[in-house]
């Protein structure tokens, strides 16, 4: 028994190293920062020449102006962190940044991205400040989008909790795993982003199944208590997060071929193409899982196991098989959440850890172990998070969301959709 656990731990370690060490890390010469300025109005693109761009950092400053085709290139002397700024005064009349605050973009020039492509999204000058109502509409959309991303993590967490009772503190690292795997395949191996994302989800699902088989299943067999397992998951989370940090470093990375496309306006709401992808993909994934749980045989079995594992087992349901499927689906959902989250937040070793508390808040809010609860709770958290910035500084929005969690637990300890049962 002992040997098996150690072997399993070792196997996790080696599998991770094998995956990550393959990412090319060779340094090369020719570090540069470049970009192409295009004015995007109504779907058309016109190059914007004659705009001054300045790169500073690592004791180096250099300016250039964009050429007739809108392109600009500034070679930098060394790898490191740089700030790229655009001189708004040199923009032609009627052209402005679609996000007026993005005058300076920070970037890091280091392998494998020694040629950093910086996009300043240009469009019709929108100097007018949005009305309160328009801001609220925009925030509502962003809240729904972020809520859906949280829901991808929360649904998996809730399914795993429902069937095994495990409060998995390492769920955030599954989210990170999905994004890092996709980043490795995309930026490291040069696969197209879509292919890398699909493979990323598959890898994360395998990671989940592997985790269940090598760690959680033996622990369940041995009768390890739920709190002991919770603490094991904390250890696993610390282990995985620092392994990610070890192999990837602390910087944020972006997928390649990821371009900051201009926003499309739907009434008061500006939506980027990646937002649309994020929303549609996450709704499809959530719907597929919810329908699967409600309608299929396996879904029924899952609900039976959630309800009462012993009874389900005596009714002839293979509980371990159900749990394995739940781990695969839960990990795949979390991985997808991480992949999509990286569209807006970039990839970093602690991205999953940073949203984990919000995921927990969502699950607890909706009612631990309930499927609709996880989704509703996530949307509430996402909406509250974004809309609260109307009133409080955006750096404190997480504080608001976590406070709501505590307040709702005071009133409805079983969560919004949880069954009314004794929880204490």
């Amino acid at each position: 028994m002992h040997r098996r656990f150690l072997a399993a731990l070792g196997a996790v370690f080696i599998a991770l190293i094998a995956l990550f060490a393959l990412a090319p890390t060779a340094a090369a010469e020719g570090e540069q920062v470049s970009g192409r300025l295009e004015n995007r109005v109504d779907g058309g693109r016109t190059p914007v020449p004659g705009v001054t761009i300045t790169v500073t950092g690592e004791g180096f400053t250099e300016s250039t102006t964009s050429g007739a085709d809108g392109t600009w290139v500034i070679p930098v002397p060394a790898q490191g962190a740089y700030e790229v700024s655009i001189d708004v005064a040199t923009l032609p009349e009627g052209v402005g940044l679609t996000d007026p605050d993005k005058v300076i973009i920070k970037t890091t020039v280091q392998p494998p991205n020694i040629n950093r492509i910086i996009i300043f999204p240009l469009g019709e000058s929108t100097a007018v400040t949005n009305s309160k109502w328009e801001t609220a509409a925009q925030l509502t959309f962003e809240g729904v989008r972020f809520g859906l991303l949280i829901a991808l993590g929360a649904l998996g967490l809730s399914l795993i909790y429902g069937t095994t009772g495990l409060t998995n503190f390492a769920h955030g690292e599954i989210i990170t795993f999905g994004a890092l795997a996709t980043y490795t395949l995309n930026a490291g191996f040069g696969l197209p982003l879509i292919v890398a994302a699909i493979l990323g989800v598959v890898l994360t699902a395998i990671f989940g199944a592997f985790q269940n088989r090598s760690l959680w299943k033996p622990l369940r067999k041995r009768g390890t208590g739920l709190i002991a397992m919770m603490i094991v998951s904390i250890g696993l989370a610390i282990l995985l997060r620092n392994l990610f940090l070890f192999f990837y470093g602390g910087d944020k990375q972006a997928y390649t071929e990821f371009v900051g496309l201009a926003g499309i306006k739907f009434g008061p709401v500006a939506v980027t193409p990646s937002d649309i992808v994020v929303v549609i993909v996450s709704i499809l994934a959530l719907a597929a899982v919810v329908i699967g749980v409600q309608k299929t045989r396996l879904g029924k079995a899952t609900r039976a196991v959630s309800d009462n594992p012993a009874l389900a087992s005596s009714a002839g349901i293979d509980v371990e098989r159900v749990i394995e499927v739940v781990w695969i689906v839960g990990a795949a959902l979390a991985g997808l959440g991480g992949i999509l989250l990286a569209f807006t937040q970039q990839v970093s070793f602690q991205m999953g850890f940073q949203v984990l508390l919000l995921v927990f808040a969502a699950v607890t809010l909706g009612g631990l172990g309930t499927i609709w609860g996880a989704i509703v709770g996530s949307l509430v958290v996402g909406l509250f998070l974004q809309l609260s910035t109307l009133v409080i500084p955006s750096e404190l929005k997480n504080v608001g969301a976590l406070l709501v969690l505590i307040v709702i637990l005071l009133v409805r300890p079983y969560g919004l959709l949880g069954r009314r049962e004794r929880v204490g």
Binding site: H2, F5, L6, L9, T167, L219, T224, G225, L226, I227, A228, M230, I231, V232, I234, G235, L236, A237, I238, L239, L240, R241, N242, L243, L245, F246, G249, L357, F360, A361, T364, L368, P393, E395, L396, N398, V399, L402, L403, L405, I406, L409, L410, P413, V423, G424
Partner: protein, 330 residues
């Protein structure tokens, strides 16, 4: 390899500020988790409110050192009440999630730009410890104890720190052997049984949370005074988890468990780190492929793996009794 450097660094970690701070945090957790079975995942918040009460009152508002200490302890009591009232009636995992959320709220508020005027934002605060070091009776100079050399101020805070540890251990020892302590253990083993004996379980849990929080908050003072600075990101969830690792390593529900755990934990952490660094400096093959910053991460990987392995194979730690510690909860 400079063995004397390795040994002195390891010893200083094992008996220095880190061991004291996390020892005190773990002593508090021991009362809450080890004896009462409360899953307080927000211990770092207790350290934070104490450290920041002292730092903010002295540095930003000009109060004296002792007022800072008193307010810090009161703040820890208040935090325990705030956390306990909504959650102590709930199941163990709810308490865990709410306490971890509350600790994160505290950290985010402390590092926010909005409240920078009081808490110094992400830079923290650093000019508040004069009042403490003015009390130092030790003559100015370097003091050599074995391979370690300390300034009079370092020596002072380490002595005061270990006195606090001793005091906290004495309090724990007196409490857990009293009838009150037996009720706590009863709650850990079977809450309903204790309730049926007519005990107010909620009140006992609340008292354990408060006393554990106050014992832990002493660690916050030692951290602030030892570093002569407070920084919000020290009070993240990882610090709480380190305190859990220490408690489980030493042995939960044993009076000396947390202290033994803290000494061994920091000796292992710093010892492995400094050995790894000197191997890299010496150009040892394979090991030298790592950069210095990667080498510094290794110890956290070890903490994670260590916590898992401990919890799976020896949940009672070094001193604990497996039969006594029914980690398994309701």
């Amino acid at each position: 390899m400079d063995w004397s450097f390795i040994i002195s660094t390891t010893l200083l970690a094992a008996f220095g500020i880190e061991a004291i701070v996390f020892g005190l945090a773990a002593i508090g957790l021991n009362l809450q988790f080890g004896y009462t079975g409360l899953l307080n995942f927000g211990q770092s918040a207790f350290l934070a409110v104490a450290a920041y009460s002292l730092a903010t009152l002295v540095s930003q508002m000009g109060f004296s050192f002792w007022i800072g200490i008193v307010v810090g302890i009161l703040a820890a009591v208040l935090l325990a009440l705030l956390l306990g009232v909504p959650t102590l009636r709930l199941r163990a995992d709810y308490l865990a999630i709410v306490t971890i959320a509350a600790a994160e709220i505290v950290r985010l508020l402390l590092r926010s730009v909005t409240l920078k005027e009081w808490f110094g934002g992400s830079d923290g605060i650093n000019d508040f410890s004069r009042g403490f070091y003015d009390l130092n009776p030790i003559a100015i100079g370097r003091y050599t104890i074995g391979p370690i050399s300390l300034s009079q101020d370092q020596l002072f805070i380490i002595i005061v720190g270990w006195c606090l540890v001793a005091l906290a251990l004495l309090v724990t020892w007196l409490l857990v052997r009293s009838p009150w302590g037996r009720v706590l253990k009863g709650i850990r083993e079977d809450e309903d049984a204790v309730r049926s004996l007519g005990k107010n379980v909620y009140l006992y849990k609340m008292q354990a949370l408060i006393i554990g929080g106050v014992l832990g908050c002493l660690g916050g003072f030692v951290y602030a005074l030892g570093r002569q600075a407070v920084n919000p990101d020290f009070f993240g969830t990882d610090s709480t988890f380190f305190a859990y690792a220490i408690l489980i390593l030493g042995g939960a529900a044993r009076v000396f468990g947390p202290v033994l755990g803290a000494i061994i934990f920091w000796a292992l952490i710093q010892g492995s780190d400094v050995i790894l660094r000197s191997l890299i400096d010496a150009g040892v093959p394979v090991v030298s492929l790592m950069t210095a910053s990667q080498a510094a991460i290794i110890r956290f990987i070890l903490v994670g793996a260590g916590l898992m392995i401990l919890m799976i194979y020896r949940p009672q730690g070094i001193l604990g009794d497996r039969k006594e510690l029914a980690l398994d909860a309701r």
